[in-house]
Amino acid sequence: MFRNAWLSLASVGTVTISLLILGISLLLVMNAQAFTRSLESGVEIRLFLDSGLSRVDVRDMERELKKTPGIATVEFISREEALEEMKKNLGDRQDILEGLEEENPLPDAFRVKAEKADNVPALAAELEEMKGVDQINYGRGMVEKLLAVIKWVRLAGGGLIIVLGVAALLLISTTIRLSLFARRKEIGIMKYLGATNWFVRFPFLLEGMILGFTGAVIASAMIYLGYISLVNRLDEVLPFVTLVTDRDTLLVVIGGLLGLGVVVGILGSAFSIRKFLKV
């Protein structure tokens, strides 16, 4: 009894730790991706218009833009609004713009958002050719950099999760294999008494499942409570940093951990037991 308890504890502990690491990384990556997504959605193209366009021209352009594939939203910004915005940006030193109201040097503009930030450079090139457009501005350079960073964060995040997932699988199945190894004689004896493979295998699979599930439950609980309290604490100290908190995401993480724990528990036992059954 005690020996078995110890073996089980070791296995549960390993499952817990492995899934804990995996779960934490999952949340980290998910937050990084949510953050990059919010950066992405901030990317916009500004079309500065030729001066002297009529209202009708502008409305036609707007309609045409909305039809263009790949464009998500279009917003018209008059030269007056543009000046106001500029003043706001200058803050303390807006006095330097004083007097410009009379002869506002800024043009009318459209603010266009692409459906996919990836398309922004191509779309910008296309829109530059449009009739009535004087100049285009989308933070050339910056956007390309941002897109590259976002791509890398996604790739690195995905890679990290795969590596950690495989690591968790290896760790858990190694532990299960070691604890089966410590009981290999028992398995052999069962076979010598005329037990079928399934008769021997079943309790071990059940045990593997329970171990995996227990470990996953502990890991999930720790992650859930830890994350919730982190979110609350961050809310107090860094109210401007927003972490992913929607229930669906958390459910996906926790459900994934539970499923992984159970599946690895069963499969780990099933694979490991095979070689001890050959007697």
Partner: protein, 228 residues
């Protein structure tokens, strides 16, 4: 019941444990297998039990070729045989009762049948006080008797005992031989490898004598050895 035709067993390290053994054991017989240490007694037994495969020759059990059994037929063979292992092979995590009961669970016996039968068998081998004890808390002879109880609990058609009295005092040994005799008289075949000269000489059963992997003597109502 058991037929060996020109069976040889050469272990991977080159040791020739059985050398062209041809022998038959009929249903209901009581056979002693004797011979010096290392003669090949356990190897012969392991082939019947399909713990080892013969290197050459054919071995039949109930007219079925043991060598050709499929993986899932092996458990069925083993359930027909009650085996007393020379090295005991008790489950260390289970009590005496559970060890014996396990042999019944494996064959799908009901809980009721187990609760009825196991205590009976344990008292037949003189261990009814030790039912709740772990194997590691038993004396050598007691462990051996648990193995015997486990071997007979399923009323097998064949009992193979590999030196079942090696750790037993003469009185207890005789009690067990009487038990085996009784079981044998009800039709169960018994094959027993042993070094107990007294027992073999007194019982006057068939004796198979092995030396260096060969059967060198096969006598009805035989004795342990001819010289002494």
């Amino acid at each position: 019941m058991i037929q060996f035709y020109n069976v040889s067993k050469i272990y991977p390290n080159g040791v020739k444990a059985l050398n062209d053994v041809t022998v038959q054991i009929r249903k209901g017989e009581f056979v002693f297998l004797v011979g010096p240490s290392g003669a090949g007694k356990s190897s012969l037994i392991k082939i019947i039990f399909r713990e080892e495969m013969p290197s050459r020759g054919q071995a039949l059990f109930n007219s079925k070729n043991i060598t050709r059994l499929k993986g899932r037929e092996v458990p069925l063979l083993r359930r027909k045989i009650g085996m007393v292992f020379q090295d005991f092979r008790l489950l260390p995590q289970k009590t005496v009762f559970e060890n014996v009961a396990f042999a019944m669970q494996v064959t799908g016996s009901s809980g009721r049948a187990i609760r009825d039968r196991v205590p009976l068998v344990l008292s037949q081998v003189g261990l009814k006080d030790k039912a709740g004890v772990m194997p590691s808390q038993l004396s050598g002879g007691e462990q051996q008797r648990v193995c015997i109880a486990r071997a007979i609990v399923n009323n097998p058609v064949l009992i193979i005992a590999d030196e079942p009295t090696g750790n037993l005092d003469p009185d207890t040994s005789w009690e067990l031989m009487n038990l085996f005799n009784e079981i044998n008289s009800k039709g169960t075949t018994i094959l027993m490898a042993t070094h107990a000269r007294d027992i073999v000489n007194t019982m006057k059963k068939r004796v198979l004598s092995m030396t260096g992997g060969r059967i060198t003597r096969d006598e009805e109502s035989g004795v342990y050895s001819n010289e002494s």
